[in-house]
Amino acid sequence: MDRLRRTNRAVLFASVAATSLGLAVPASAQETFKLGIVTFLSGPAADSFGVPARNGAQFVIDQLNKGSVPSPYEKVGFGGMKIEPVIIDENGGATKQVQELRNLYQRDNVDVVLGYISSGDCLAVAPIAEELKKMLVLMDCGTPRIFEEAKYNYVFRTAAHATMDNVGLVRYMKAKNIKMDSLSAINQDYAWGQDSRADFVAAAQQLYPNVKVQTDLLPKFGAGQYGTEISALVGAGSDVVYSSLWGGDLQAFVLQSVPRGLSKRSQLVFSAADHVLPPLGDKMPDGTILGARGAYGLMSQKSPLNDWLFKGYEAANGVYPVQAAYRITQSILGLKAAVEKAMSKNGGKKPSTDEMVAAMTGLEWPSPGGLIQMKLADGHQAIQPIAFSRTKYNPDLKRVDLVDIQYFAAECVNPPPGVKSIDWIKGGMQGAKCN
């Protein structure tokens, strides 16, 4: 009796396992293009970046499949092939991401994987795609190390790395004659915070040779409470307080520092902050200088393509698109451009991975955030223009407007090919082409 029950359970278990394996048998995709999309659907980065990116991807893919995207992207899907997205969660660490990337390529037979917001995940998945000889398009992640420490053929990044966020920010401050004899900084104690801080300080020392770094704080990621840090920053009273905080941490920092008068004593400058404007609203102090990691959202330049994304996304999601939605849009449009370029060469067949890779290398394409050019890392790393601005609350629209917007050309704020970002900044940013 006991044995029988146990056998039954074992049989049940085995059949469940067998069914799940059976489900994994991939269906062949003839007329569709299967696109794996990886973005944070849970965890601390979901609300700020991951979910806006997912919403952006869904909007763009929906529009592409209907063929209602403005020129030059009128063709349905990718060159007539409908796009079939497979969306998975980026949360769970690099180990899980490496495994899921393999599953996407080997089990689900996706044609291309596009996504990744975390730099750690980008670094981890890039060599795996290269080994499997499958195309991987990184859409966001900050670190310049991906192509500076390794060479890839099958991996592309369709957005500029984090160097321009800080170089551009310092250039903006110089252009607007912001006084910075003394500087304090607060950044999260992990790679993004540490690297952003290093880039900003190095760039500041180039354009403001006399700047003195006063309080330099590295609270842990996700700290949420900044009472002591704000005391230290208020006490230092520096001309400028720099931060690369993002998401919930940045919101908490702003909410806690404004009542204590930090924004009145020091000029606040945030390298990537437009994504907190909708949730913060009038809690964001006027006159704060901020960037968006590109000419995105309220800083985007008017064009038919930008109007399409801004209005369409706002209508679909009830909030205007910010950084992450723009980044995934430019990524999908870039891939579309590459696929269609490859198809024009091979006579309209569905292109192979190698044909797509060849087409994407060194490609240029227009996006809602401006022209994207794959100029670095032998045509695998994009550069793009960037904008900075000041905040000003608009009580009529009940939203934070961005004023004093200034644009910087891609080649003004990004290093030239073959130079490591930090060496380029420390060497005086040689070869920058600024108008």
Binding site: D2, R3, R6, R9, A10, F13, A17, S20, L21, L23, A24, L41, S42, V86, I87, I88, D89, G93, A94, T95, K96, V98, Q99, E100, R102, N103, Y105, Q106, R107, D108, S119, G120, L123, A124, A126, P127, I128, E131, L132, K133, T143, R145, E149, A150, D189, Y190, A191, Q194, F221
Partner: protein, 329 residues
């Protein structure tokens, strides 16, 4: 693996599982490699749990093994898979040798919390080490085997699968012998009453230290596998959720069967992967329900699906791999 299974039969099982990898679909191979690696570290937790102590900080040795292998691979170009496993085991073991005797004096919740604290200290130090890539970590090259390099992805995956299954299998056989040995039975006695063990002239601290060392060696080797499978290492290896996951595998498996550890680990990876694919927004919920389901309906772990409750037949303390209570909490 039942009590009366001959060692040669166990080796035959390992060989069979290894050869089965030739017919598995490619994506399953790397999944199984990770599962085998997790099974190895969970086996270490089961070994240690027989003394009544649970380590919530095996991530420390996991990361030590991984970072040790990665740094040596990048500095001296050591890519051989077997050598990397040995290096990983040695790194974990050395650290276990230092920490084991210190921590063996504590028991229960203090033991668990101290192991957790030590792994988080290591995590904090790694995040601040910008030379090691900080929180982003760094990459290593692909492993080779006895001078052979594998360029075909499937062959490379199969090589790793084979090495990890064989090493984990041998560790499982080793654990079986250990559990049957005098030392293994003395470990059980420490859990029951360490004072009596001391009166018998044995040192309870020493027994715990040695078991701790074994668990650390397994964890270090497991870190080497994880590194070889993903070619990337970051401080997440030492984070407490990573350690917690290994304890989960041990709980899922129960302590009745070494094979159950491998099955539990594989089941967890499969459930995670498919729930992430089909339910990307609620995969954590599915994983949680799965864990709850196993705890509710198989309180003695997945191993109880095919291992009879031996207490009905004989005194369990003499049975291999069978402890009277759940070994893991």
């Amino acid at each position: 693996m039942k009590k009366d299974l001959h060692p040669l039969a166990m080796i035959a099982v390992i060989a069979g599982v290894t050869l089965f990898g030739r017919v598995l679909p490619t994506w399953t191979l790397s999944l199984a490699t990770i599962a085998a690696s997790n099974a190895l570290i969970a086996l270490g937790i089961v070994v240690l749990a027989r003394t009544g102590n649970v380590s919530f900080g095996q991530g420390l040795f996991f990361a030590a093994g991984g970072y040790g292998v990665a740094l040596i691979a990048n500095a001296w170009g050591l890519t051989d898979a077997v050598a990397q496993v040995i290096v990983g085991a040695a790194c974990g073991g050395l650290l276990g040798l230092v920490i084991g005797p210190l921590i063996a004096r504590y028991s229960g919740i203090f033991f668990g919390m101290l192991t957790l604290a030590l792994s988080m200290v290591f995590y904090g130090a790694l995040v601040k080490s910008t030379a090691l890539g900080g929180s982003d970590g760094f990459n290593v090259g692909r492993p080779s085997l006895f001078g052979m390099t594998f360029t075909d992805p499937r062959e490379a995956d199969f090589m790793l699968y084979a090495v990890s299954v064989i090493v984990t299998g041998l560790a499982g056989i080793g654990a079986t012998f250990l559990f049957r040995s005098e030392f293994g039975l003395a470990s059980l006695a420490v859990r029951e009453n360490n004072l009596r063990v001391e009166y018998l002239g044995l040192s309870a601290n020493r027994i715990i230290s040695i078991n701790f060392l074994i668990a650390a060696i397994f964890a270090g080797a497991s870190g080497a596998f994880a590194l070889m499978a993903q070619r990337h290492i970051d401080p997440q290896f030492a984070y407490w959720t990573t350690s917690g996951e290994f304890v989960f595998v041990a709980v899922l498996a129960g302590n009745q069967s070494v094979a159950a550890v491998f099955v539990a680990s594989m089941a967890l990876e499969l459930v995670r992967s498919f729930s992430n694919l089909y339910l990307p927004n609620t995969w954590q919920l599915v994983l949680g329900v799965f864990l709850l389901g196993v705890i509710l309906f198989l309180p003695r772990g997945i191993g109880s699906l095919w291992i009879r409750d031996r207490r009905k037949r004989r005194i369990s303390a003499t049975a291999p791999l069978t402890a009277e209570r759940g070994a893991a909490p």
